[in-house]
Structure formats: structure tokens, C-alpha cells
Amino acid sequence: MKARVHVMLKDGVLDPQGEAVRHALGTLGFQGVNGVRQGKVIELDLVATDRAAAEAEVKVMCEKLLANTVIEKYSVEIA
């Protein structure tokens, strides 16, 4: 079973890297970009076969390590 974790800065936390990407896109002529937020995707290959149990376990992993919940939010997809 595979899990995909998306980690993004929380809304309201300034993302200087995203802002630099937005600026660079403007330089390339893409004028229609109002904002860019940059995050991480983490893919996990799990032994678990139970979907709900896997999702619960990955959420604990996010809380303990994969995300810093002071500044980041996360979402988990099980595939």
C-alpha cells in the first residue's frame, strides 16, 4: 500500500521561496500568477494492508516527524 503526504506551509505563514518562484515566473512572461506556495510531497511504501489503519499511522508520522505543525499543514492520500 502506498501513501502520499503533502506538506504545505500553513495559510498565513509567509513563503519566501514561493514568492521567489512567483517573481521568476513573472520574469519569464507569465503575468497571470497571483501567488505561489511551495511544499513537499513524500511518498511512503507501506507494509500495511488496512487502509484506515495505514492512514491513521501515517498521520501520526506526520505529527511526529514529516511535518512541523508549528508552521506546516499536511494531508494524506492512501493509494
Binding site: V13, L14, P16, Q17, A20, L65, L66, N68, V70, I71
Partner: protein, 222 residues
């Protein structure tokens, strides 16, 4: 004063931190990140700067899970002292021993220069050698020093007089220019600037040595 200085894979300020403690009169033990225990009688743990685990995932995130940090957590819970500098500050926030987080510098550049700090409180065993409002010239060298904390956390730091140092100029975009913060019991300090790099007159000044002498005064010489 018995100090234990931790070395993680990728630490590079551990030796300088040990020397700064020794020059202040401390007996220093060097501790490896895989150790499970601190030396008997440790008064203060030094968590040094560097690039532990190559800054993988987030700065300090992997080091925060190492065996020695469990021992550091117990040491702090018992009222022991800890000093985290630069990557050490990041590690202490990642372990939850200090509030907030260190994000990428607002200017996106690695900043490596001597900056002027304002000592925001003298009410700690780290900062007692200064008066509040004093200035200190201490180097910074970091890419992720942009201290971030939510409004409630910031209000709490202010109410409890736990902001130890602020920058006199905008160095990295840190909230309210915060360069260092104290724990609720005032025995854990995390700071981005490197006082151990300003602790020898032959090597760029001695303003940082005030911090180590303050600690030595508070913790009986070993």
C-alpha cells in the same frame, strides 16, 4: 559547571562551543548523538551549530529524533540547562523544548556576517552579564534563521519576558527581529547568532564570552 557538548553527523561548531565553555571554566564532556545518556552531573547541554543530517527534511528535524535528544529532554524536564546555537536552536524547536520554528531566511540567501544584537532581557543565567538594552556584536551564519511563531505564542514570549536577543537590523525576516528565546523556566536558550565565535579576542571579539561567563557565574565551577 559541567557541560556536555553533543556532536551530530554534520555538526561543525561543536569544538568551538566546547572551547568557549572551557575558557569560561567549565569541565566539558563531548557526547555522540547515538549515546543514550548524558554524563553524570551534567549541568548544561550544548547543542551546537552545523548542518546535522544535511538539513534533510527540515533543519534539525532528524537530529531531534536521535537517542541523545531523549536524554536532553529528560535533563531539561528535571530543570537542567541547555543552550542551542544556530542548528542547535533549530533542533531545540524541533524537539518542542522551545516554541516557534526557524524558516528559510526571507531574503533566501545564506547570511554570514557579524550583526549587532540587542540584549532584550538580563533575567536569565545566560544573559545576566549584560543589562537589558545592551548591545553585543556576534556573528550569524545561517540559511534558515527566520524565527516564526504565531500571535498567541509571541504574546506569551513577550508577557513572560522570554525574548533573549533581537537583531538591530533585519537579518533574516524573523518575527519582531527575534534572535534568541528562552524556555518558560528560563534554563533553555536557543539563539541563531554564534556567541562561541565571539569568545576569543584573537578571533573576532569577545562579546559572546559574556554569555559563557554568565553561565559560569550561575553554575558553580566544576
Amino acid at each position: 559547571m559541567k557541560a556536555a557538548i553533543i556532536t551530530f553527523p554534520g555538526s561543525n561548531c561543536d569544538r568551538d562551543l566546547a572551547v568557549a565553555f572551557e575558557q569560561a571554566g567549565a569541565k566539558v564532556a563531548r557526547v555522540w548523538h547515538k549515546d543514550h545518556d548524558l554524563p553524570e552531573g551534567t549541568d548544561i547541554v550544548g547543542v551546537p551549530g552545523g548542518f546535522s543530517y544535511g538539513d534533510y527534511l527540515r533543519c534539525g528535524a532528524i537530529a531531534a529524533q536521535s537517542p541523545i535528544m531523549q536524554a536532553v529532554r529528560k535533563h531539561v524536564e528535571k530543570g537542567g540547562y541547555a543552550l542551542g546555537i544556530c542548528n542547535g536552536f533549530q533542533i531545540l524547536t524541533e524537539t518542542g523544548l522551545l516554541p516557534g520554528a526557524l524558516m528559510r531566511n526571507a531574503g533566501l540567501k545564506f547570511v554570514c556576517k557579524t550583526v549587532t544584537l540587542k540584549v532584550a532581557t538580563s533575567d536569565s543565567d545566560f544573559t545576566r552579564g549584560w543589562n537589558a538594552g545592551d548591545v553585543a556584536n556576534i556573528p550569524v551564519a545561517h540559511h534558515d534563521g527566520n524565527y516564526t511563531i504565531d500571535a498567541d505564542g509571541l504574546a506569551r514570549l513577550k508577557d513572560e519576558d522570554r525574548i533573549a536577543f533581537t537583531y538591530r537590523e533585519d537579518v533574516n525576516g524573523a518575527t519582531e527581529g527575534i534572535a534568541g528565546v528562552l524556555s518558560a523556566n528560563r534554563r533553555v536558550l536557543g539563539m541563531m547568532p554564534h556567541p562561541e565565535r565571539a569568545a576569543d579576542a584573537r578571533l573576532g571579539g569577545t562579546d559572546g564570552s559574556v554569555l559563557f561567563r554568565s553561565l559560569a557565574g550561575a553554575l558553580a565551577l566544576a
